[in-house]
């Protein structure tokens, strides 16, 4: 679905991405992992066109995204920190997005019901708790039944019940053939959800491939230990 080649980005002196090559497979859940400052969020913003590469290219279904914006109609994005226009209510926000993306296809409002958000959506977003905002954020990402969902720390701030609801939603939408890019600091969660893993360290991809392959290569029983091993010792030959 997405091919990234030799992607580079620097902010001032800081080289955030130092030549990323990565393929996101169709219909799979790809976990992007790495320590803080490894470039995960920057990479995601570049796929969305919010930040622009210094060099390199990103292709979405074979088409370069540079200069294009129509491809974003096929993406649902859940940012790490839910920052909304403060004066709007949740319902107004969703209304605005519906108006803007205005597609005839049926909307996916399943999460509103599951999170029991109806009452909360009438209140101004600034009055909502962090967790509730995160739920609104998730609703907005799934609303248009996009082909690709980019979820940056989706379960951060959610209680266990809501977190489970969201994870079930991710898995059921994957079963319908949607593609996901996920980041999280909770390795057990990523292991539960992901097919592929891309491990970023200091702006480079240290490993990209199926989760099972990473566990095989490192001879570790789970993703957390496998990643820890790559971080401390690099990939075993």
């Amino acid at each position: 679905m997405i091919e990234i080649t030799r992607l580079q980005k620097r902010f001032g002196r800081l080289e955030v991405l130092q030549g990323i090559d990565l393929t996101i497979r169709d219909g799979q859940i790809t976990a992007v992992v790495g320590p803080n400052g490894a470039g995960k969020t920057t990479l995601i913003k570049m796929i969305l066109g919010l930040a622009r590469p210094d060099t390199g290219e990103i292709r979405f279904d074979g088409q370069p995204i540079e200069g294009d914006f129509g491809y974003r109609a096929r993406i649902g994005y859940m940012p790490q920190i839910a920052r909304f226009p403060e004066n709007l209510s949740g319902a107004e926000l969703l209304g605005m997005l519906k108006d803007l993306r205005g597609r005839g296809a049926a909307l996916d409002e399943e999460l509103i019901e599951q999170f029991d958000l109806d009452d909360q959506l009438r209140k101004p977003l600034r009055t909502l708790s962090g967790g509730t905002r995160q739920k609104v954020n998730a609703v907005a990402a799934f609303l248009f039944r996009p082909d690709l969902l980019i979820l940056d720390e989706p379960t951060a701030g959610l209680d266990p019940v809501s977190s489970s609801i969201l994870k079930d939603k991710i898995l059921s939408e994957r079963a319908r053939g949607r593609t996901f890019i996920l980041t999280s600091h909770i390795m057990s969660e990523l292991e539960e959800l992901s097919d592929d893993v891309a491990f970023l360290l200091e702006g480079r991809v240290r490993f990209a491939g199926p989760v099972d392959e990473l566990k095989d290569v490192t001879r570790q029983p789970n993703l957390e230990r496998a990643i820890a091993q790559v971080m401390t010792e690099g990939l075993a030959a």
């Binding site: 913003k45 994005y77 108006d99």
Partner: protein
């Protein structure tokens, strides 16, 4: 509806709710009302209004614009993650500011003239020139505020820059021109002064308006030269062209930067 029009619509909803905008409308409404009631003649009221317009419209436009655009960062980021192009977003942001501010100015300024009427000293053309110039200054200073907000990441720095620019164009510039004129009083200064007037949108607006009041005789020989230049159709065309440049250049530079910006 086009994407730009939609973005403009959301922003309009937000701006119209702002207390600033209501205060801005009321300010001009009360001012125009009071001046019309208490001035001897309509033309005197208009002349006083002119001075306030040249001072207040640039200030409010550039400060309101800069502040609003910094506060709209979340809104911008949210929309740019949707199928919206940078160009559409930029146009929407700008139009969503220009329309309500111009409307607030026109309503506040114009309404008292409608319900109080004007005496025979005022020509409609003069009133419309004042309203048109105020609207043009709003558009110009909002374009500049957009350029500032796009180029400067830091809100405080951006706001400082906006106020500094206002001080320069609306206050300091005049003093500098005056200083120049008195220092080189022995030389023929009409042409250089004309050039200097063209460089600053506020001064340009002032000269254009003053010439409509038939008081250019008070400005001596320089006034006569200005009258000759701006009174003719060439001069008016040049003035309008320069004001248009003041609008288009900041917008062009702002858009160029906006398209490359990282969010």
């Amino acid at each position: 509806m086009s994407t730009t029009a939609k973005i403009m619509k959301y922003e309009l909803h937000d701006v119209v709710r702002s207390r600033w905008l209501i205060g801005y409308t009321l300010f001009f409404l009360l001012l125009a009302d009071a001046l019309l009631r208490f001035s001897d003649t309509g033309v005197k009221a208009l002349l006083s209004l002119l001075n306030v317009v040249l001072f207040v419209v640039p200030l409010v436009s550039i400060v309101f614009g800069t502040m609003y655009l910094y506060n709209a960062r979340e809104f911008t980021e949210l929309l740019l993650a949707q199928p919206v192009s940078r160009r559409q977003m930029f146009a929407g942001l700008y139009l969503g500011l220009v329309l309500p501010l111009v409307a607030a100015f026109l309503v506040g300024m114009g309404l008292p003239f409608v319900y109080l009427g004007m005496d025979e000293t005022v020509r409609y053309a003069t009133l419309f020139a004042l309203l048109g110039t105020g609207a043009a200054l709003t558009a110009v200073f909002l374009a500049v505020s957009l350029l500032i907000a796009v180029r400067t990441e830091d809100k405080v720095k951006g706001l400082g820059l906006a106020i500094a620019l206002w001080l320069l164009t609306a206050v300091v510039y005049d003093g500098l021109v005056l200083l120049l004129a008195t220092t080189f009083a022995d030389y023929p200064l009409e042409q250089p002064l004309l050039g200097l007037m063209l460089l600053n949108p506020v001064d340009l607006a002032r000269v254009l308006l003053l010439l409509r009041f038939d008081i250019s005789a008070l400005m001596g020989y320089t006034g006569a030269v200005f009258q000759q230049f701006f009174g003719g159709s060439t001069g008016t065309l040049v003035a309008v062209a320069v004001l248009t440049l003041w609008l288009l250049v900041p917008l062009y530079l702002g858009l160029r930067r906006f398209r490359r910006k990282d969010f």
